[in-house]
């Protein structure tokens, strides 16, 4: 988080990440909320139900029979012309895979908190990004957060980004299971007035179901028309990069804290090797960078927040001076490496002549330790000396496997 001079506009409380996300949703004034319970997302929905019961929240809340229906319900409600919210995790997101594709081409700016959790098999409830990463081609924006405050703030920012007329795409706010969802932290909970000042009421432009102005949404289309729909959706995703940066700047001005937009660089300016992380591992990596800097090692960190849209141009600029780039992934694309690693290599291919290394660690929710991250930096430093072809994928902290 980057502190700015603007004063905080809320009350400070010790709450979980799930509570923070629920608060963010509540002050965004969604009109329809639909959800199905799944660990570790459940508390988000429980808190929203409590806010509703106590009269703090005024919305239609649908406790539906599956995540497939939760997503379909918010798609239909958003298509009717109201702001919507849902939250899920893991298998729930997998079950949503089919409806996820429907929202982006139909210009439906839904906001969804996703608590990143392992996808079976084996069944596990702890953090992994193997639930959200496979959804990257659905047309949803994806932002990965590091702590409870960011989980809250990105719901508010998410609506501003998603509903922007240049974007009109849905967004997932991805937060690590337990490390964010269930960890109690000190969080600034924005007041309703502060949220209202930042986020205006939703007025649908391209999608609504109103007998007074009839419209067909989701018509079948022959090949003569579908390719343009794909192109147009792609164009909006590309435009979203700038909107995301701008909304974060506006948020920082309003609330006194920002996140650097698509990514936050930490001690990267004069670094020789830089590690790219997503989610809570960033906190560990930041400490390791300080530790290694204390020993005189020129290492830096880049906390990647926006996976979709992918910040290709900015990433090229921010890493142009590095002699090696490392990419941490909490998800694996079997036989290839981590999805973020693949994206970064693709982004840097035209402009960088340095090794890009992929690190797989912390899968299934395993702790990623200082020693793990230190090893990543060691491998990057060694590869920097050997040149571009020294890149590759390593499994860090895997029993019986030498990294």
């Amino acid at each position: 988080m980057i502190e700015t001079k603007a004063p905080a506009k809320g009350i400070r409380r010790m709450v979980t990440g799930d509570y923070a996300a629920a608060w963010g949703a509540m002050v965004s004034r969604p009109q329809v909320i639909a959800a199905y319970p799944i660990t570790p997302q459940t508390m988000i929905i429980e808190h929203l139900a409590e806010f509703l019961a106590s009269g703090k929240l005024d919305a239609e809340m649908m406790h539906v029979e599956s995540e497939h229906s939760a997503m379909s319900a918010v798609i239909a409600a958003e298509a009717t012309g109201v702001r919507t919210y849902t939250a899920t995790s893991s298998q729930g997101l997998s079950l949503m895979h089919e409806p996820l594709f429907v929202a982006p081409p139909m210009h439906l700016p839904i906001v969804m908190s996703v608590v990143n959790r392992t996808v079976a098999a084996p069944l596990g409830i702890w953090v992994e990004h193997n639930d959200t990463m496979p959804q990257r081609d659905t047309g949803w924006m994806q932002v990965y957060v590091e702590d409870a405050q960011e989980a809250l703030d990105m719901v508010l920012q998410g609506y501003r980004i998603a509903e922007h007329p240049d974007v009109e795409l849905p967004i997932m706010v991805c937060m690590d299971a337990f490390l964010v969802s269930h960890t109690i932290e000190s969080v600034d909970l924005p007041s309703q007035d502060a949220a209202d000042a930042f986020l205006p009421p939703f007025t649908p432009v391209h999608a609504y179901l109103d007998p007074d102005r009839p419209l067909v949404l989701g018509a079948a289309s022959p090949p003569e028309y579908i390719q343009e729909v794909r192109w147009e959706t792609d164009a909006r995703m590309r435009r979203a990069s700038e909107v995301l940066e701008d909304v974060d700047r506006k948020f920082a001005k309003a609330f006194g804290r920002g996140y650097g937009g698509a990514f936050e660089a930490y001690r990267l300016e004069d670094a020789e090797v830089g590690l790219i992380t997503l989610g809570t591992v960033t906190s560990t990596a930041r400490e390791v960078v300080d530790l290694l800097r204390g020993r005189g090692e020129k290492v830096g960190l880049l906390k990647l927040r926006s996976f979709r849209p992918f910040p290709t141009e900015r990433l090229r600029e921010a890493t142009a001076h590095l002699r090696a780039v490392g990419v941490y992934d909490r998800a694996v694309s079997y036989g290839v490496g981590g999805p973020t690693y693949v994206e970064v290599r693709n982004a840097l291919y035209d402009t960088h002549n340095v090794p890009v290394l992929g690190f797989l660690a912390g899968l299934g929710g395993r702790d990623v330790t200082f020693a793990d991250v230190e090893l990543m930096f060691q491998k990057m430093t060694a590869a920097a000396a050997r040149g571009r072809r020294a890149g590759g994928v390593s499994w860090i902290g895997t029993r019986g496997v030498t990294p």
Binding site: Q31, A34, E65, S72, A76, T80, L209, P211, A219, A220
Partner: protein
Amino acid sequence: MTTVKELPVQDWFESGHTACPGCGGAMTVRIAMKVLGPRTVVYMPASCLLIFSDMYPLNAFRVPSLQVLFETSAICASGIKRALKRLGKDDVTVVAFAGDGGTADIGLQALSGAAERNEDILYICYDNEAYMNTGIQRSGTTPYGAWTTTTPLGPQPEGRGKAEFKKDVPRILIAHDVPYVATASLGFPADLLKKLEKAKAKKGFRYLHVLAPCPVGWRTDSEKTVDLAKSAVETGIFTLMEYEDGVFRISREPRFTPVRDYLSAQGRFKHLTDEQVASVERWIKEKWERDLALARALGPKPAVAQAPSGR
């Protein structure tokens, strides 16, 4: 009550759609839209209906419509209604038109969920007894013995066509104890209109199951649609019933005309053996006994006799 002659000339589901001649689904939707009128939002799943009414840039509905996915009719209609309520447009009727596959099979979970929550929607299933849009594959509501492309005929004289009997979706909905469940047939338009009007007027979850013959899938001539829909009721293979606010009523007692005539009129049953026809006859008998039992158990309660006074 509106009679057939009093129906408005105005259509809200227009001609010019691309349904096959004699399509029972298109007839169902056209009649329903005449009753439902302009203050309506339509949901339809991936289905024949979507393809023949809503292939961009053509559109047959004069009211707003949404299509999301095949199995999401009940949940999407619910989502629309909840949003309309928030927008102060609670007067608008939200109707889902889905076929039997989208209702009885892949859409059953969402249908059950919406019924359990008593969502304020009207769900109309046009039952043509197979997956017709994908090319006549068996569904849960395909009748016993029927030929479909996935229940082809083999060399054996028995066990040809679909081996199982028709799934009774209305009875599943009755078990949810929703405000209104009814069956209707294109062969009995007055009954259909009455039920549509009731369903439109009621609040909460309403389900209408309409037998809608498909000439292509049933292997019949297109002008036979209404006759077959009538014959299905008269033979007793399809019961006209109504479950309204907890009371079950049979709308029309079948005449029990020979089911063999109904079956032999359709190409999909042409191969049935005498034994198979006898199985259908037994099934009709058992179904009718069950319908009567339901009518007894859930029928109108006799007025409670006045307790004799203390004298």
